[in-house]
């Protein structure tokens, strides 16, 4: 059971709050990744607030689904969602990347409740998820493994070793989501080292492939629910997204991959998201 079961409208509102959290914590941290977190926000929010079976009150609940962010650098989204779920206080977001904080630049599973694996070195999450899904299946458990990946990340060979294994092992309790924003550090993914045709690749590795608009909450929910019913093969949801989604001057620009907004840019971004730095940092600090 998902502990929230939000409807479409609630999910959209929550996603907007999470975008506000992301911008606010990045302005405060003065370092970190902006673009990727904003592109995964909508489907990651849906996963935690409607789809996945997880328990913020007991993060190590043995009956939970397993969610790994193979793109460790999207911590601003990852942490905001965990905090909004209640895994730890919202005020912790304001300590992101600072000395002594449990919110490390890239996730540390030993320090942060709700983090399932320490990532940050790309291309490792899918193999971990194959292991988790296999383990759940060995134990006859109904739980599922979810893995969030980046499109630049698909260039890592290890992703394809895992993809081959998941298809071969027919892991229908594994659902991956690919954040297809066509952006990585050095430029557009199709200009750096194209991963296309990505749909055909996964199909030929014996995966069920669902293509969606990764910012359309209805499509997102439908895709995750369909994946739950597919038998005999893993599912990958290929989510077409926009880097920096939700902030006009960031959208579609790969240069937002790894830099935070300046305080001025943060003000502009938060204005577009219907709040101010003052208001939103106060909300975080008082919770």
């Amino acid at each position: 059971m998902n502990p929230f079961n939000y409807d479409i409208k609630q999910l959209q509102e929550k996603a907007r709050d999470i975008r506000r959290d992301i911008i606010t914590m990045l302005v405060e941290a003065r370092s970190g990744h902006t673009g990727g977190p904003l592109s995964v926000t909508d489907f990651a929010t849906a996963l935690y607030f409607n789809i996945a079976n997880h328990n913020p009150e007991n993060p190590s609940d043995l009956n939970r689904d397993f969610i790994v962010y193979s793109i460790g650098h999207v911590t601003p989204a990852n942490y905001s969602i965990l905090a909004e779920c209640g895994y730890f206080p919202l005020r912790d977001l304001m300590t992101f990347r600072k000395l002594g904080s449990h919110l490390q630049g890239h996730p540390n599973m030993l320090e942060t409740p709700g983090i399932e694996a320490s990532t940050g070195s790309l291309g490792q999450g899918l193999s971990i998820s194959v292991g988790v899904a296999s383990g759940y299946r060995m134990d006859g458990k109904p739980n599922r493994a979810y893995c969030i990946m980046g499109d630049g990340e698909q260039q890592e060979g290890a992703v394809w070793e895992a993809a081959m294994a998941a298809g071969f092992l027919k892991l229908d309790n594994l659902c991956a989501v690919l954040d297809l924003n066509n952006a990585q550090i050095d430029g557009p993914t199709d200009k750096i080292m194209s991963i296309q045709p990505i749909v055909d690749k996964y199909k030929s590795f014996n995966w069920n492939v669902i293509e969606i608009d990764g910012h359309d909450t209805e499509q997102i929910i439908k895709a995750f629910n369909t994946a739950k019913t597919v038998r005999g093969m893993p599912t990958i949801i290929i989510a077409k997204t926009v880097m920096g989604k939700g902030v006009s001057f960031m959208e579609g620009d790969y240069r937002w991959h790894g830099v935070p907004p300046t305080p001025e840019q943060g003000d502009d971004a938060l204005k577009e998201l219907g709040t101010t730095y003052e208001e939103w940092s106060q909300r975080l600090l008082s919770n």
Binding site: L99, G100, S101, Q104, S121, E156, G157
Partner: protein, 321 residues
């Protein structure tokens, strides 16, 4: 003797920038220099080379293992192949490729690992290379160099391009004090004497050279004359300078922005124990991962400061007996 300036006013520059600048020069001089990166062109400063020599540059995408052996292949047809990415991924991710293809074959592949050490800062443990010198040091045929500043990074880049065989260069993300100069001599495999003294030898590499120089100032105030050696090449190691330091000073402190296990200090100890055993103390990271924070704050938290080196020197001197 190097004159050390205080932390605030000393000029600071990035070693990764020195690497990028020299690579461009080398590209202009020699047609057989080729450069590869894995989606971090800007942050390892190979963009200067890439912009001027797009035909001798390959951005391999986020695929370090593949990049390593593309460099191997290029070297097999006569290229001097540099591949550059963050030190963690350049080494640990491709370790078997580096071991079995590059080192066993003694190929002319040059590995540049940026973001070495704690000064990498807020990205945290996953991106702070603290083990890569050890990983590279254990491999036969490998040369391992840790430039201490911008100028040394330039010279080291040129030197590894001229030395046949596998080489690893450790570079840093942050600006660090410039403690050498454009015309200071540099020879691969030969440590540099930075300050004379016979009471204790402070042997440092990378950003710790500056901290060791400051430590020597502190000790001088107490009447202790510390010798400071910049051990920029840890493999092949400069046995002569180390044995002389041990016999003339009688005590040694090593300082590095790396795990103590298997790092520069361990390499020094391997020489000292066999040839001239004297008391030794180690300044470095003590068998733990790094963490997020401002780089300078991290150096303090992890005990990698002049005061820590000075304290270790007092301890080593006391142990002389």
């Amino acid at each position: 003797m190097v004159v050390v300036t205080d932390r605030i006013s000393i000029e600071k520059k990035k070693t990764r920038q020195g690497f990028g600048h020299e690579l461009l020069e080398l590209g202009r001089e020699k047609d057989n220099i080729v450069v590869l990166t894995g989606d971090v062109k800007g942050s390892v400063n190979v963009s200067y080379f890439a912009d001027e020599f797009p035909d001798r540059f390959i951005n391999c995408g986020i695929a370090e293992q593949n990049m390593c052996n593309i460099a191997s292949g290029l070297s097999l047809v006569g290229k001097v192949a540099f591949f550059a990415t963050y030190g963690c991924f350049a080494t640990a991710r491709c370790l078997d490729m580096i071991r079995t293809t590059v080192c066993y074959g003694n190929l002319n592949v040059k590995i540049a690992g940026s973001h070495g050490g704690l000064l990498t800062g807020p990205d945290g443990a996953s991106h702070q290379a603290l083990e890569e010198l050890g990983l590279m040091r254990v491999l036969p045929n490998m040369t391992v160099v840790i430039p201490c500043d911008y100028w040394e990074a330039r010279k080291a880049t040129r030197a590894v391009s001229e030395k046949p065989g596998p080489c690893f260069l450790r570079l840093g993300r942050a600006s660090v004090p410039v403690v050498t100069s454009e015309d200071a001599p540099f020879e691969l495999g030969r440590g540099t004497l930075m300050r004379r003294g016979n009471d204790v030898a402070l042997i440092a590499c990378g950003s710790m050279v500056y901290e060791a120089l400051l430590a020597a100032e502190i000790l001088a105030g107490e009447g202790v004359e510390a010798r400071v050696i910049n051990l920029h090449t840890i493999k092949p190691i400069d046995k002569d300078i180390l044995v002389r330091a041990a016999s003339e000073c009688g005590a040694i402190v090593t300082a590095e922005e790396h795990q103590i296990y298997c790092g520069m200090g361990s390499a020094v100890a391997e020489v000292i124990v066999r040839h001239q055993p004297v008391p030794m103390e180690f300044i470095g990271v003590n068998d733990r991962f790094g963490e997020s924070g401002d780089g300078q704050e991290l150096l303090t938290k992890f005990g990698l400061r002049d005061i820590n080196i000075a304290e270790a020197a007092r301890k080593a001197i006391k142990r002389k007996g």
